[in-house]
Every structure is written in structure tokens, then in C-alpha cells.
């Protein structure tokens, strides 16, 4: 049970995931799912819902941290075109595994959030774009959706109201780039997943060039609680401008890796030491990648940073999707970087010059550096090639690709230096 006292809230999205049988509609309903939905559909109107979400301070949990209420308010009304709601369940960012748990353990929470969001936005057709590898999760979602249709929670005249909405699960084909919202839209339209340049933004011209809202699973799963307990309630959880609970997927050299939902503002150190059972070796981590592999690295110096969008930004990184990768002193950072370079070189969609050519160039250079065949010039190349792709491309994949390289060179020049050919013993 979620507490109506913001100070007492232990979990929002994960509140019911441990309950036995929660994927089935009957049990989920007994546990409180869809309880508040009739009130929303009968007593709330669109403006009210958008206002509550704005008041809640909820920021997108997919990576960019864009205020959700604001995004919804950008959707133009009365365009004569349909408005679409797309749930981004592609969860491809290395290190991130939170959306998966929501979907496989509490699918009705996501469905309920989507019905409420769809109602607020006047949506008739909504889609969940789910990562291709999540076959089990897709099956769970599909089964839950079938039950919801049968119970008149989806489809025509939901719960006897004027509101009708369809919800469809679409499985991706395993491309990381299809998590980028405009690539997701292209893919859902049946084309290769290549991001679109912006503007126009999806809110104005998205799916089939119609107004479209794309939100992350966790974002949408937070909506029912916000509407039930109010925007102000949510705004009191966490810290100002970084409100609510957040799920962190912690992996790497910690004793208890896993998903942890904690109030925003909890410190990195507390999360790792109190929740995750501390580091496997030593007392301070060597590297923390705080928001998924695409975010710049932090070092021991920032071990105490609060887990908020703002503090992470100030520390030189990003909260991203909340995927915390912890590396202790045993880590081979060059191998790590090389592996990530391979990932981005493989996943670049290929349209932008710097990303298409740069990611491959970085990978090939890292291959040599890792093998001890690098030279001084390679360090300069790595730096130049990584630096000039970030912020100069259609989507942020290039920024993500440059982050590990630039972090390695910035924080650990001596490790790289040691591995160069010139310095070989």
C-alpha cells in the first residue's frame, strides 16, 4: 500500500511487484489496481490531470528527465488528427533493467497509467514498444491487456464512460537505437529505426506525423499514484525539482546488485552501501557510471552525490535512466571502454557522419589500445573523434558513445598511457 503521507512512501512503481499473482487482473484488482480509475475517468478532465502531473514535478524516467506534465501540455489540441501515446519499453541502455520488472511483475500498473495518460491526452490508440528480447515480458503484457479488454478497462467505452482506447504491444527487433523516441516512432511505422531530426518534436509531429507523446514505462507507471494522491503529494517526495521515487538498477562490483526504488535525493553512497551491500573490493569505487553506459563517469570524489538530475549534472554526469554501474579497483577500465565502444559502433543507426564513422573509428582504435598496440597519436585521435561527435548529431547516441572514451581519457590518462606501445616493457 502506498502511504498517503509523502514521508512514509516506500515505493511507488514497485509497491506491488512482490505480491503473489499480481500479473492476473483479479489479484491485481484485489490489491488495488484500477481502484482509482473510475474516479479519473468520471470526475477528472484533461486539464486537471495535466495540471496534477505538472504539480507533481514528475520528470521523465527514460533518460532525459524532461518534465512529464510540460511534455503533455505541448500536445496541440483540436488538430483534426489523432493523438497517440507510445510507451517506451525498449529498455536498451546498458545497465538498465527496471522497466522490465514493472512489466513482468505488475503489468496492470503500466496499463492503468497508460489509460489515465491516454484519457488526459485524448488518445484512441496507444502502443507499448517493447524491447525484442523481452519475449516473456511481452507475453505477460499481452495477457494482461487481454484481461483488461475483457474487463472493459480497454477498448470501447471504458467502464461505461465515453472514453475508448486501444492498447497494443509491439515488439522491437533488438536495436538499441529504437529506444530513442523518434527512431521508435519510425520503427513502429514500419521503417528502419533511424531517428528524426527535431524540430518538429513528436508532441507536434510524431507517429504518422500526428501529435504523439512518448513516455518511459516507469514514468507512466507513476501516473496512477500521482492522480490518486495528488500532484502535491508527489512533489513532497524527494527533493525540489527532483521529486518522487526513482528506481535505480545497480550493477557491477556491489554485493547485492538489483533494482532499488528510493526517494530522489538519496546519496549514491547510501544506495550502494546501505541498499546494495557495499562494494565487493575496497571501500571506495573506482568508477561509477550513474545513469546508464551513455552517461559520463564519476569517480570516488563524487561518491556522496545525491541521486538527483540536478546534482548529477553538477557533478559532470547525468542521472539518465538510473542505471548505476559500479566498478571497483579490480576493473580493467580499458577493456570496459573498448567493450562499450563496440556496443555503440554496433548500435549506431549510421545516418550521421560523426556517429557512423566515429563510432567505428573509436572501436578500432580502442581494440588496438587494449591490445597494447596503441600509440600517443591514438590518444589524440580518441579525444578528437569522441569530442566532435557529441552534440553534433541527430540524436544523443553519439553523445553516449563519446562519454566512456572521454571519461577514460579525462579521469585515467595514466592507465591509458601505461598501455601504449611506447611504454611497453
Amino acid at each position: 500500500m502506498i502511504s498517503s503521507d509523502p514521508k512514509q512512501v516506500k515505493a511507488i512503481c514497485f509497491d506491488r511487484i512482490h505480491l503473489e499473482g499480481q500479473t492476473g487482473l483479479e489479484v491485481a484488482r484485489k490489491n488495488g489496481a484500477y481502484k482509482f480509475l473510475p474516479t479519473v475517468l468520471k470526475d477528472f478532465d484533461s486539464d486537471h490531470i495535466v495540471d496534477e502531473v505538472k504539480k507533481s514535478g514528475l520528470r521523465g524516467r527514460g533518460g532525459a528527465g524532461f518534465p512529464t506534465g510540460l511534455k503533455w501540455s505541448f500536445v496541440p489540441r483540436n488538430t483534426g488528427k489523432p493523438t497517440y501515446l507510445l510507451c517506451n519499453a525498449d529498455e536498451g541502455e546498458p545497465g538498465t533493467f527496471k522497466d522490465r520488472d514493472i512489466m513482468r511483475f505488475d503489468p496492470h500498473l503500466l496499463i492503468e497509467g497508460m489509460i489515465m495518460a491516454g484519457f488526459a491526452l485524448g488518445v484512441k490508440d496507444a502502443y507499448i514498444y517493447i524491447r525484442g528480447e523481452f519475449l516473456h515480458e511481452a507475453n505477460v503484457m499481452d495477457a494482461a491487456i487481454d484481461e483488461a479488454y475483457a474487463a472493459n478497462l480497454l477498448g470501447e467505452n471504458i467502464l461505461g464512460t465515453d472514453f475508448s482506447m486501444n492498447l497494443t504491444v509491439h515488439r522491437g527487433a533488438g536495436a538499441y537505437i529504437c529506444g530513442e523516441e523518434t527512431a521508435l516512432i519510425e520503427s513502429l511505422e514500419g521503417r528502419p529505426g533511424r531517428p528524426r531530426f527535431k524540430p518538429p518534436f513528436p508532441a507536434v509531429e510524431g507517429f504518422y506525423r500526428c501529435p504523439t507523446v512518448v513516455n518511459n514505462v516507469e514514468t507512466l507507471a507513476t501516473v496512477p499514484a500521482i492522480l490518486e494522491f495528488g500532484g502535491d503529494w508527489h512533489a513532497e517526495i524527494g527533493v525540489p525539482n527532483n521529486t518522487g521515487m526513482k528506481i535505480f538498477s545497480v550493477s557491477g562490483h556491489v554485493n547485492k546488485p538489483g533494482n532499488y526504488e528510493v526517494p530522489m535525493g538519496t546519496s549514491l553512497k547510501v544506495l550502494i552501501e546501505e541498499y546494495c551491500g557495499g562494494l565487493q573490493h575496497g571501500t571506495v569505487p573506482k568508477v561509477i557510471i550513474p545513469g546508464g553506459s551513455s552517461t559520463p563517469w564519476l569517480t570516488a570524489e563524487h561518491y556522496d552525490t545525491p541521486l538527483t538530475y540536478d546534482a548529477m549534472m553538477k557533478a559532470g554526469s547525468m542521472l539518465g535512466s538510473g542505471a548505476i554501474i559500479v566498478m571497483d579497483e579490480t576493473a580493467d577500465l580499458i577493456a570496459l571502454t573498448r567493450r562499450l565502444a563496440h556496443f555503440y559502433a554496433h548500435e549506431s543507426c549510421g545516418q550521421c557522419t560523426p556517429c557512423r564513422e566515429g563510432t567505428g573509428w573509436l572501436e578500432r582504435t580502442m581494440n588496438r589500445v587494449e591490445a597494447g598496440q596503441g600509440c600517443k597519436k591514438d590518444v589524440e585521435v580518441l579525444n578528437d573523434a569522441a569530442e566532435h561527435m557529441a552534440g553534433r548529431t541527430i540524436c544523443a547516441l553519439a553523445d553516449g558513445a563519446s562519454a566512456p572514451i572521454l571519461s577514460l581519457l579525462k579521469h585515467f590518462p595514466e592507465i591509458v598511457e601505461e598501455r601504449l606501445m611506447e611504454n611497453a616493457e
Partner: protein
């Protein structure tokens, strides 16, 4: 409008313009690869980065709209480094084989490397090599040089409408792929080589032949179709290497016909010296001897003259001068597609500009394979189609347009009158009428439902009718065209006494031809019949090949050999083996002259190529003949000739003094009062014959071009086509069949296609089944 600052200079551009376009408009140099003014924005090359004050990262200027008060910087140290890096990214996998690349010297990659690139490359890994594609006779590939700007893909999707270029794979395995069977499907495919900013897609015929800096550029006008595109002929010495669209011209593209016809300029078929037929065959002689031989053949004879409409205005006018001085009673024809010669029938050309047509609320294509006939106009319609604006078509064949038509009806030629009547009835019922409309309508009893499409389109605020060959060559053409004019007036699109429709002419200079030859012209078919029937003593062909082109090849074959023939021209067609005398006249690329396109747009060719042999401009040949016949020479130089033209056609006065602009189109006063009423035609046979114009086959120049002949073979359909039901109705199946016509029975191979209207015998290959073209009706009489 939006006001912004580009490098501290205040400029105002229309709202929504991209920063790159604003920079281009105001002379600020920003490098780019993927941007192309005629294509959608892709924003993938990232070469066009600029800085905007207050933004924390550089912006791609091609996809960033201007904002009020925005402060844009196009050059800075950090941008210079960005551009240097973009070049380095592009070059790591580039083969850097400029010395053997045709693009070298006109290559964006090369130019920007010099301008923005680093002195040295730093890449020392393995390079990418990419498999090439066979895209057919016009475009060759070297895909390792591709920089993935996707211009070609966007061209194929948006302009050609064929979608036969695509992107495969991702990351640095991304590949541009030609998705073709034998060749690119588009009639505009040659533009791909121009669109590609590097040496990945190249012009195949000129591959490995010349470097850009060795070539001289001659601005000219293409006369291969009535569009009259502005072209630049690139030659090395006297040899034409390639033809490209003129960058300053009206249209950004040219078609493959106009582009690749140039090997015909040097083909064996060229007439380069005067010749006279001896027993052994044609023998080259001096000009004097040949002129004398012409006089011997033609003096005091009943003469028929057939000429091509594609000569320059000066050449055409001089034909009239020859006629008036020497052959006052001669019959004259210049059109190989007309049967009905009543007034209006020769009032040709457009009453709207292409831009007006493309912008109209409704466009209706009536009986035309527009993609073949006017490929560039069709591309304009495709563009409007992409924007969701309607294009309707009515006709005998579901011709490929490579764009979606909003409405489409298949009809057979004998139904045209009922189609028009149905449309007229609808207008009349809505109280819309014009003087003479009731009388026209009364003549027709039948109504055909396809007329509803026509009437619905006419009811829009603006409507363009494109009237094609199926109507022009109809035996009741004048009445049909008059009917269309009446409806244009009734629906308020044309003033009383004006027409408002756009009649696609056979060739260039339509406005001049109807003004200058209106009073003396006859149907080419009738003229040829007259020669066969002994009513003429001699024929003069001036650049025309009635055996190879148009509808009357059967009559031409019959007439040849019956009477002596003087052939004057730049190139010899099938008729030439019958010529008694041949006089060489300079080709369109080799003269100073004036050309008028279908819209009435006037163009002057001023930098001709040198002729190959002893050719003279046509007007000089004509004057020489006048002189040889002992008559006074009417004009002795171009200035005098042009003054004479102004007396025929006052509308052109001033053309040669001032700079004419593109907006000034020549509109010739038309036969306002003419009104042709429908004739009741009793259909004597079950099928209507429709003969197709093919851009790869029609015209002597085209048939002399090996490139176009190859393309023609690739794009060919079966010789004769019918709808499957037509065969079924006759109890026949596809294959060898007997075709019965009024002039006899013929055996042909018949193919089936649902695209053909039922009841139509469709001649898709005139070269093979051309003899049937002169027929209006036929029937199928079973296999062998």
C-alpha cells in the same frame, strides 16, 4: 517574416526558413553535403554546423528553423575544428582515388577537403570497401566513395517516385543500394549522377572520358520534347561529352532522353555533306551541285513539304519564306499525329505555365502518357501529389506515373465525346454554361460516367486540363478540344473566347507554328496519300521522318519511291534511303537561334557547337534554294529574318532586343470564334487503336542514340497489348493473332495487360507495330 543576424548582419527571411537557406539567400557561406534545395531535409552529413548565440552546442543549420532575433555565426575557430573533423570522419573510409575519379574537379568532398580539411589524415585502421551495383545504361557506381548523404535515395523517392535507391544496414556497414532489375526505372535517372555530391554515382556514358576542367559549356535548349528544358552542353573540343540541366534554368532536372541523346550528334546517321543519289547510291557532292540537283527535282512541280517542329524559330520561318517565294501552292505538314485538321485542331501549346499547373487545385490528364511525353511536367505533378494535391487521369491506358493518382478512369477513344458530354451535362445542371455549349451538348446522346471526374475537377477554384495525344490524334479532335474549351469557360477558368486548356503539342515552337503555318497546313497523312495517289510530283522532308515517327508510317512507306525526295536535315531517318538529294542543315545544338516551348517561354541559343561537316543553318539553306530557283532572296541575315518573323507573329516583337524573362510567355491569339461540333462516328470495328509515344523510340535523334536505344529495349513492353477481357470477348488467347483493319489483315503478337482499357488495341512499340498506328479501329480475328 523573421529577422535574425547572420555574422552580425541583420537579415529578414520568411518564417520557417532554415538557417542554412537564410545563409544561402544572404551570401553567407556554409558548407553542406546532404542538403539539396529540391529534396527533403535529411540533416545527416552534419557539415552545415553553425553557432547560435546562447546555445550550448553547434546547430545543424539545414534543419534548424530561424528564430526572431537569433544571432548566427558561420565561422569561428571551433566551427573550423568541427568542419575539419567532419571531413576527417568522412575521409577515413573514403578511397581518396581522386586522380581516377570522374567527379574530381567538381566534387564537394574534394573542394571541402581543401577548404576545411586537415593537412594529414590520422586514420590507420582497415578501410571499408563496398560492392558496386549495375544500375543500367546511364548511371555507373563506385559505392566505396559514397558518403551516405542519401540525396540519391531522396531523389528516387521524392522526384523520380520509383524508390529504387535505398539504405541497407546501419552503423558503418550502412550501404546505399540500387534496388533494380535491369536498370533504374526512372526516366529521370541521369540526374542521380548530378545529385550525388561525390563520385559514387557517375554518368555512365561519359565515364572515364573527360575531366570537368577540360570541357567547354554551351548553354542551349533541349528540343527533344515540347518542354524545352534549359541545358548546358559540355564538350571537349567539338565532341559533346554530356548534357546537364542548366543551373540557372527554370527546372532543376532534365530527362534521360534530353540528356543522353548526345551520342546521336556524332552518329553515322548525321548528314554532314550534300549528296545526290547516283546508281551506286548517295554520293557526296558540292553544295552547288546539290542545290542544282534539288532545283532539277523540284522545279515547276507539285510539291509536298513535311518538316519537323523542332527547328529554331528562324529555321521554321525560313521554311515559310521558301514556300511563299518558290512553292506557293505546295501542301505543308509538320505534325505526324493529327488527323482532324479543323480549326482549333492546330491551336496548340499551353495556356498556363507549368508552375500554374502544378499549383492548381485540380489537374486532369486527358489521354496522355505524361511521364513519357513530358517527363519534367509529370515530375511537377508528382511533387504536388506528394503534397496531397489531387491529380485525375482519364484515358485508354493506365500509364505508369510513379505517383498516386487521386482518381483514374480507363476509357476507349470512341467514348471521349460521351465523357465530355457527361461533364458538360453536370456543369449545365449546376447552371454553369458558355455560349455554344448547349449546341455542342445537343449533338451527343451518350453520357459516360468518367465525365464526372472531369466535371468535379472543373468545379474547383482552379483547374488545369492537360490534353494529350489520345485526343490530339482523335478523328474528332477539334470537337473534343472545343468541348473542353467550352467547359473551361462555363466553369469560369477561361474567359469567353479563350480556351484555358493546355494542349500538349507534338514538338517545340507550337505557338509559332500555328501562327505561321495555320493557313497552309494539312495533315501529314493526307499529304503522303496525295503523293501516293499521283497528286504530288515531289516531296521535301525537312528534318522529319514520317516512316519512323508518328502515326502515318504506313502512308509514308507507300509514298516513298513513288515521287522523288529532297531531304534536308541534320540527321537521316528511315526515309533517307529514298532521298534523291540530301542537304545538310545544322542541328539544334549547332545554331544560334530562338526556341519557344509549350508554355510560350522563349529561349535564345547563343553559343552553338561547331558543326561536324558542311552543315549550314536551316535558314541559310532555305535562302540558298530560293536563290537557286531564281527568286529574290527575302532576307540576307538573321536580323532581317527576325524582322520578318515579327511581321508574321507580332507577339515576338522585342524578343531579340531585350532580355526576356521567364515570366513573359508568348500567348498567341487563337481562333476565338472557331467552334467544331462533334461528328457522329459510326464505329465500324470492335476495337479502338491507340498508339503510344515512347520517349526512348520516337524521333530520329533518339533512334540514332545507342544509349537511348538500349534504354528503350530495357523498358519495352509487348508490341501490342489488349485487356484480357478483350481477348476473352473475341474468344482468343494471348500470342500470335490476326489483326483486321480497313487496310488489310496483319499477324502480330498480342500481349495482355489489365492496364489497357477494354476494347482498345494498344500499340506499345511503334517500331514494330507502327504500321497499325494509322488505323483508328481494328478487330482481332483469331490465331494462326
Amino acid at each position: 517574416m523573421t529577422t535574425l543576424f547572420i555574422n552580425d548582419e541583420e537579415v529578414t527571411v520568411s518564417a520557417g526558413t532554415s538557417i542554412l537557406e537564410a545563409c544561402r539567400e544572404h551570401g553567407a557561406d556554409v558548407p553542406y553535403f546532404c542538403y539539396h534545395p529540391e529534396l527533403s531535409v535529411a540533416a545527416n552529413c552534419r557539415m552545415c554546423l553553425v553557432e547560435v548565440e546562447g546555445w550550448n552546442k553547434p546547430a545543424a543549420s539545414c534543419c534548424t528553423p530561424v528564430g526572431e532575433g537569433m544571432k548566427v555565426t558561420t565561422h569561428s575557430e571551433s566551427l573550423a575544428k568541427d568542419r575539419e573533423m567532419m571531413m576527417e570522419y568522412l575521409l577515413i573510409n573514403h578511397p581518396l582515388d581522386c586522380p581516377v575519379c570522374d567527379q574530381g574537379g567538381s566534387c564537394k568532398l574534394q573542394d571541402y577537403t581543401v577548404e576545411h580539411g586537415a593537412k594529414h589524415g590520422r586514420y590507420s585502421e582497415v578501410k571499408r570497401a563496398v560492392v558496386d551495383h549495375d544500375l543500367g545504361p546511364f548511371v555507373s557506381t563506385c559505392m566505396t566513395r559514397c558518403i551516405h548523404c542519401t540525396r540519391c535515395v531522396r531523389f528516387a523517392d521524392e522526384v523520380a517516385g520509383t524508390g529504387d535507391m535505398g539504405v541497407l544496414n546501419r552503423a558503418d556497414h550502412m550501404r546505399i543500394e540500387g534496388i533494380v532489375e535491369d536498370a533504374l526505372e526512372s526516366e529521370l535517372s541521369g540526374n542521380l549522377a548530378d545529385v550525388c555530391p561525390v563520385g559514387a554515382l557517375l554518368d555512365k556514358p561519359s565515364h572515364d572520358v573527360a575531366r570537368p576542367w577540360e570541357m567547354t559549356r554551351h548553354k542551349s535548349t533541349c528540343t527533344q520534347c515540347p518542354q524545352g528544358c534549359d541545358i548546358v552542353i559540355e564538350s571537349r573540343g567539338d565532341k559533346v561529352i554530356r548534357i546537364k540541366p542548366d543551373k540557372d534554368g527554370v527546372e532543376p532536372w532534365i530527362c534521360d532522353r534530353g540528356r543522353y541523346v548526345h551520342d546521336a550528334f556524332r552518329a553515322d546517321q548525321r548528314i554532314v555533306a550534300p549528296a545526290v543519289r547516283e546508281k551506286s547510291g548517295l554520293v557526296n557532292v558540292s553544295w552547288d551541285e546539290a542545290i542544282q540537283a534539288s532545283v532539277d527535282v523540284l522545279k515547276d512541280k507539285r510539291v509536298g513539304i513535311i518538316f519537323s517542329p523542332d527547328w529554331s524559330v528562324e529555321g521554321l520561318a525560313s521554311i515559310r519564306l521558301l514556300h511563299d517565294s518558290v512553292f506557293k501552292d505546295a501542301k505543308v505538314a509538320f505534325d505526324l499525329h493529327r488527323r482532324d485538321m479543323r480549326e482549333f485542331a492546330f491551336e496548340e501549346g499551353f495556356s498556363m505555365s507549368s508552375a500554374q499547373i502544378v499549383a492548381a487545385d485540380q489537374v486532369v490528364i486527358l489521354g496522355s502518357d505524361l511521364r513519357q511525353r513530358l517527363p519534367i511536367l509529370m515530375q511537377g505533378l508528382r511533387k504536388r501529389g506528394n503534397e496531397g494535391k489531387p491529380v485525375t487521369r482519364i484515358g485508354a491506358m493506365n500509364y505508369r506515373t510513379n505517383s498516386d493518382l487521386s482518381a483514374d478512369a480507363l476509357i476507349r477513344p470512341r467514348e471521349w465525346v460521351a465523357v465530355i458530354a457527361r461533364a458538360m451535362q453536370q456543369l449545365k445542371d449546376l447552371g454553369k454554361t458558355a455560349a455554344g455549349m448547349d449546341a455542342w451538348l445537343e449533338k451527343v446522346e451518350e453520357r459516360h460516367e468518367a465525365g464526372k471526374l472531369l466535371a468535379d475537377a472543373l468545379l474547383a477554384d482552379s483547374c488545369a486540363l492537360l490534353v494529350g495525344e489520345e485526343i490530339r490524334s482523335h478523328s474528332d479532335a477539334s470537337a473534343l478540344i472545343h468541348g473542353l474549351d467550352l467547359m473551361m469557360r462555363a466553369s469560369g477558368h477561361a474567359e469567353a473566347g479563350a480556351d484555358g486548356r493546355n494542349l500538349i503539342p507534338e514538338g517545340m515552337n507550337a505557338q509559332l507554328l500555328s501562327a505561321v503555318f495555320g493557313d497552309i497546313r494539312v495533315s501529314a497523312g493526307d499529304l503522303l496519300d496525295a503523293a501516293s495517289d499521283g497528286e504530288l510530283d515531289a516531296l521535301v522532308l525537312i528534318g522529319s521522318d514520317p516512316m519512323g515517327d508518328g502515326l502515318f508510317s504506313m502512308q509514308a512507306k507507300r509514298a516513298m519511291g513513288k515521287v522523288p525526295l529532297v531531304q534536308i536535315g541534320a540527321i537521316a531517318g528511315q526515309t533517307s534511303e529514298f532521298a534523291n538529294v540530301m542537304l545538310p542543315a545544322a542541328a539544334y545544338s549547332e545554331v544560334e537561334g530562338t526556341f519557344i516551348n509549350m508554355e510560350g517561354r522563349i529561349r535564345m541559343a547563343e553559343h552553338p557547337l561547331r558543326s561536324l561537316g558542311e552543315e549550314r543553318p536551316l535558314w541559310k539553306v532555305m535562302m540558298r534554294l530560293v536563290q537557286a530557283f531564281g527568286e529574290e532572296i527575302p532576307v540576307v541575315n538573321l536580323t532581317e529574318l527576325r524582322a520578318r518573323i515579327e511581321s508574321f507573329l507580332p507577339e515576338v516583337s522585342g524578343v531579340w532586343d531585350d532580355d526576356v524573362t521567364d515570366d513573359e510567355c508568348l500567348l498567341v491569339a487563337r481562333n476565338r470564334d472557331a467552334n467544331s461540333m462533334p461528328n457522329a462516328i459510326e464505329p465500324a470495328m470492335s476495337l479502338d487503336v491507340v498508339s503510344r509515344y515512347s520517349m526512348y523510340r520516337e524521333g530520329m535523334w533518339v533512334r540514332a542514340s545507342s544509349y537511348l536505344v538500349e534504354a528503350g529495349d530495357i523498358h519495352a513492353l509487348d508490341d501490342l497489348l489488349v485487356h484480357p477481357n478483350t481477348l476473352k470477348d473475341a474468344g482468343l488467347s494471348a500470342g500470335e493473332c490476326k489483326v483486321r483493319t480497313t487496310s488489310g489483315d496483319y499477324d502480330y503478337h498480342i500481349g495482355v495487360r489489365e492496364d489497357v482499357a477494354e476494347g482498345v488495341l494498344f500499340i506499345s512499340k511503334r517500331g514494330v507495330a507502327g504500321d497499325l498506328s494509322c488505323e483508328v479501329m481494328a478487330s482481332l480475328e483469331g490465331g494462326q
